[in-house]
């Protein structure tokens, strides 16, 4: 039994995105480790992260059974975060990857990689691609710093990997 703590510098959750316009669908890893590595934007100041990986199910009842029957249907996958907005990540971006606002506004296909507990050798990650949605920046006088939720609507499966 080993927990997955994220409370030390080497263990921080790390979310990287690449939306440089190149099609990496044949090899998502290349968006981060290969040709696309110069266009990777690290999303800083995450307040919370939720990975949604929910297989859909279809249930039915039949007269010759005391319990429901179930079959799976395609999963709905998404990664949701809440973040404190950083000027560079939100507006500027990195390399050919625009800032988060532009990526959302332009509906640019986005490749992502989420490290669960740091990104050194042996650390686990999941990656995939999708679109940014649910951006809703907010600020108020009692909390005068912009924050926003953000969801990556994942198309297709997650891929699990190890650094």
């Amino acid at each position: 039994m080993a927990y997955i703590p994220v409370n030390s510098t080497a263990e921080f959750v790390r979310l990287e995105i690449n939306a440089d316009g190149v099609d990496y669908s044949g090899n998502v890893a290349a968006a981060f480790d290969g040709a696309g590595s110069g266009n990777v934007l690290v999303v800083p100041a995450l307040q919370d992260v939720t990975v949604n990986a929910t297989p859909g199910t279809f249930r039915w009842k039949q007269l010759d059974s005391l319990s429901e029957k179930v079959v799976t249907i395609p999963s709905t996958n998404s990664v949701s975060v809440t973040m404190v907005l950083d000027d560079t990540a939100f507006f500027t971006g990195a390399g050919n990857t625009s800032g988060i606002f532009s990526i959302t506004n332009n509906k640019t296909e986005t490749y992502f990689r989420l490290y669960w507990q740091g990104n050194t050798s042996g650390d686990k990650y999941i990656e995939g691609n999708g679109y940014l949605e649910a951006l809703a920046p907010t600020v108020n006088p009692d909390a005068p710093v912009w924050t926003s939720p953000l969801t990556i609507a994942v198309t297709g499966d997650y891929t699990e990997g190890t650094v």
Partner: protein, 133 residues
Amino acid sequence: MSAIRDALLANVTTNISSTSCGVSSELPWAQGDTPLYEKNMKKFYLSEESSATTQLFATIDRNDVFQKERSLTGFITVDAKNQPNDIDTVVAAVINSRLAIADQSVNECAVAVDTEEDRITYTFEYRFVTITN
């Protein structure tokens, strides 16, 4: 001495210059059991600044957002039996001096009034908040 205290004192000095009250740059220390503002009535005294930095937003990668809260306390005592005619003007001017501190997300000033024997003491609690990393 803090920049906020300097700015507040300068602003209060200007704002009440034409009233019956004045401003002391001394801290409101006590001589014996009697604080200076009770000994020298109709003089505005302002405390040294207190501050606290607290977490506003926690983040997973420790890019936390903090807020720094600074507070100061001002005092002015007048004769309860014979209040200055312009005491309302003085109190309003002291309260408004909170706006002289720029670049704050909170500029507050609360007033409490205490009557003891033949003295009325107005206590002004200033509170200023800024965002910091």
